[in-house]
Amino acid sequence: MSVQMDPVAADPTSTATLTAVAVRSKRGRRVQFGILRNRKAMVGIVVLAIFILLAIIGPWIAPYNPDTVTPEGLQPPSPEHWLGTTATGQDILSQLLVGTRGVMLVGLTAGIVATLISVIVGVVSGFVGGIGDEILSLISNVFLVIPALPLIIIITGLLPGAGGLTVAFVIAVTGWAWGARVMRAQTLSLRRRDFVEAARANGEPLWRIVFFEIMPNLTAIIASGFIGTVIFAILSEVTLAFIGVTSISDWNWGTVLFWAQSSQALVQGAWWWFVPAGLCIAAVGTSLTLINFGIDEFVNPRLRSTAANAGVLRRKKIRARIGFTPVYRGAAARGQKEAQR
C-alpha cells in the first residue's frame, strides 16, 4: 500500500503523538516517575495494584471453596457470605476472589502477546517497507476485517480444553491487527526522522537502529496499545465465558456472570450474584483507562501541563484557554515584581 495515502500514516494524531513521545520520553526515567504525580493515573495504578494483589492471594484469602455446594442457595449478602451465595449455595465472594487470577492472567497474557505481535509486525512492516510491508499490511488488514469475536469463538472451539491461557492466546492472535497498524504508521514516520538517518550515517547496524533508536520512541504508544489490548482481552474473555463458549470451571468473573445468567439471577432478584462481578470488570477496566490516560497525558505535554496543575489552576481561579491568556495578578507575582523594581 502506498505510504502516502494510508489514512493512519497521514493521520495527524500519529505525528502529533509522535512528536510528543519524542519530547517526553527523552525524560527517560523521569517519565515513569512522573506518571505517579498524575492523580488520575495514581488512582488507576492503586486500583489495578489491588486487583493484581487479589489475583495473587485471592485463592488463599477466599473464605470458602468456590466450588463447594451448600444447601443455602441464593442467600443475600450476610456476615457469613459477604456477597451472598449462588443458587447452589456457593460463596460468591470466594468465586470472585478466586476468579480474579483468571481475569488478570488472561488479560495480561493476551495483552503481552498481542502487543508483541503488533510491535513485531508493525515495526518490521514500517521499517522494511517494500514487498515485505505490503505482505505484512495485508495480513494485518485481513485480521482487521475478520470479525474478532466470532473468530475467537471458532478458534476456542477448535482447541481442546479451552482454558484461560488458550483463550488468552486466541484473543491475542485475533486482537493484534489494529495495534500493528498504528505501530506501522508510527514506525513509518519515525523511520524518516533525522535521528534514524543520523544513526545510519554514523554507521549503526540495522538491528540496533530498530531496537535502540526506533523502539524506545515507541514506548508510550506500545504502553497505551498494551493497556488497550488488556482491556479488550478482559472484556472478550468475560464475554466469552458469559456466552458459555469457554471453560466455565476455571473461575473468572465471566464464569460468575455465566452462572448468574443461566440461573436467571436478575429475574430472581439475586442482584448480589450479578452486580459485583460486573463492577469488578468495570473497575479494572477503568483503572486501566485511567493509567492509559496518565500515559497519554504524560506523553502529550499539552495535556500534561494543565492536567498536572489542575489543582493550582482551580485554586487560583485561572482558566487556561487558548487564545485568551489568563491574567493573574496574584500576590506572589506582584511581590516578585516589586522585588525586581
Binding site: 520520553s25 527523552k26 526522522r193 535521528f195 550515517a201 540496533r208 533508536e213 524506545p216 520512541n217
Partner: protein, 389 residues
C-alpha cells in the same frame, strides 16, 4: 533526463587550477556528474521525477572547506546525502580517494562511513531524544573502534567532548538532547561524526537554526577541526557571509545544478552569475544600510519536476536571452579560478554582458552590487576596534 555536463572534465576540480601541487593530490571525495531523480508519488504522476540534483561535480580536499550555497530546495542536502551514501544515486559517481563507491548497507557501508561522516541539517531532529550524549558518543566510538576496552572508550568519548569544547566532559555525558542548547546539540552531532575519525565531514547547514552568537562558536570549531585533523569539509549553508568567512571554495547551486563556483572571496565579492548576484544582493547586510540597489527579485523557484529548458534560471533572470531558454550553459572559466554557467560569459557575448552589468562588466568583471559603496567608515572602525575587548 541527463544534462550536458560542463565541457572540460578537469575543470571539475577547481582547486587544481589554483595550485599545481593540489592537482597531484588525490581528493578525499570527488563526485562526477552526480545526479539524483526522485520518483514522484501520487495520482497521475506516473514516470515523473523530481530532478533534485543534476550533474554535480565536487571535489573535497583534505584540510579545506567547500561551501555549498543556493536557494532552498536546490538540492544541497541531497548532494550531501548522496555522498554519504544515504541515498542511492541515479547516475554519476562518487569517488573516495579516487575509488568509486556505491554502498548501501552492511559492512561495506560501515567501512565507507568510517571515512565519510555527515552531520544532518537539523540539530533538533538528528539526535534521538531518548539517548544521552554519553550513549550517542560511546556508540559512535565503539562502532568505529571495535577493539577498545571500556576505559579506552570512555577516554575517547571524553576526548571527543573536549574537542568540541563541551567541557567539563562529565557534565555532558549524562545529558539528554533536550537539556542542551541548539549549539551544544550541534556540537554533539559534530563530536559523534568525529568519533569515526573521518577524512571527510559533510556538514549540512550546521548553523542555520542557531542565533548569531552560538553560530560563530560552531564555525570556529569547524575551522579548528579542519586545521587540526586535516579534514575535508563540505559546508552547506544559506548564510553566504559565513561561507565567505569559513570556506576556501564556494559552490553555488540553483535548481539542482551548479551554476557558479570559485574561491569564496571571489564568489562572494564578485558574483558572476545573475542568480549569485541576486543571492548576495538579497542577503541582509548591516553595512549596506543605504543605497541598496533595487533589483527585481520576483518569481518563484522553478519546478524540479518539469524544469525550465536551457538555463534553469532563465524565467527569473533579468538578462535572459533566447539562447538561455534553449540551451543549457556550460561552465565558463573566468579569471581567479572562478567559473559560472551563464551564457553572458560566452566569448561572443561581450555586448550583452556590458548591457547587463554596465560598462565595467564588459571586461568580464561585473561590478558586485554595493562593492563600490564605501563601508560606513566610522562605525566599522570603531566596532572593529573594540572587538578584542
Amino acid at each position: 533526463m541527463t544534462t550536458p555536463t560542463s565541457g572540460d572534465p578537469s575543470s571539475a576540480a577547481p582547486a587544481a587550477a589554483d595550485s599545481p601541487s593540489a592537482a597531484a593530490r588525490v581528493p578525499v571525495i570527488e563526485t562526477v556528474a552526480l545526479t539524483k531523480h526522485f520518483p514522484v508519488r501520487g495520482r497521475g504522476s506516473r514516470g515523473k521525477v523530481v530532478h533534485a540534483v543534476e550533474g554535480v561535480d565536487l571535489r573535497l580536499d583534505a584540510g579545506s572547506v567547500v561551501a555549498l550555497v543556493g536557494e532552498s530546495g536546490s538540492g544541497k542536502s541531497t548532494v550531501a546525502r548522496l555522498i554519504a551514501q544515504l541515498l542511492p544515486r541515479t547516475s554519476g559517481d562518487v569517488l573516495l580517494q579516487g575509488q568509486s563507491v556505491r554502498v548501501r548497507l552492511g559492512r561495506s557501508f560501515r567501512r565507507y562511513v568510517r571515512n565519510v561522516q555527515m552531520i544532518l541539517q537539523d540539530p533538533f531532529a538528528s539526535l534521538n531524544p531518548v539517548h544521552t550524549v554519553g550513549y550517542v558518543l560511546t556508540r559512535s566510538v565503539s562502532i568505529h573502534n571495535p577493539g577498545l576496552s571500556r576505559a579506552e572508550r570512555e577516554q575517547k568519548v571524553r576526548g571527543l567532548l573536549e574537542q568540541v569544547e563541551l567541557r567539563p566532559a562529565e557534565r555532558y555525558l549524562t545529558k539528554f538532547p533536550h537539556e542542551l542548547s541548539g549549539g551544544q546539540r550541534q556540537r554533539v552531532a559534530i563530536a559523534r561524526a568525529l568519533g569515526a575519525t573521518p577524512k571527510a565531514l559533510l556538514a549540512d547547514e550546521p548553523v542555520s537554526m542557531l542565533d548569531v552568537s552560538i553560530r560563530i562558536g560552531v564555525l570556529n570549531l569547524l575551522q579548528r577541526l579542519k586545521k587540526d585533523l586535516d579534514l575535508a569539509i563540505l559546508y552547506i549553508t544559506h548564510d553566504i557571509a559565513s561561507a565567505r568567512y569559513f570556506a576556501d571554495e564556494t559552490v553555488v547551486m540553483y535548481a539542482g545544478q551548479v551554476i557558479e563556483r570559485g574561491p569564496s572571496e571571489e564568489v562572494t565579492q564578485r558574483p558572476r552569475h545573475p542568480y549569485t548576484q541576486l543571492l548576495i544582493a538579497s542577503a541582509p547586510d548591516a553595512d549596506q544600510l543605504a543605497g541598496r540597489e533595487e533589483r527585481p527579485a520576483k518569481g518563484e523557484p522553478p519546478s524540479l519536476i518539469d524544469p525550465p529548458t536551457g538555463c534553469r534560471f532563465n524565467p527569473r533572470c533579468p538578462f535572459a536571452m533566447d539562447v538561455c531558454r534553449q540551451e543549457r550553459p556550460p561552465m565558463f572559466e573566468l579569471e581567479d579560478g572562478q567559473k559560472a554557467a551563464c551564457w553572458l560569459y560566452d566569448e561572443g557575448r561581450a555586448e550583452q554582458r556590458a548591457a547587463a552589468f554596465g560598462a565595467d562588466a564588459a571586461a568580464g568583471v561585473p561590478v558586485p552590487v554595493g562593492a563600490t559603496a564605501g563601508p560606513a567608515g566610522a562605525a566599522r572602525g570603531i566596532t572593529n576596534g573594540g572587538a578584542g575587548a
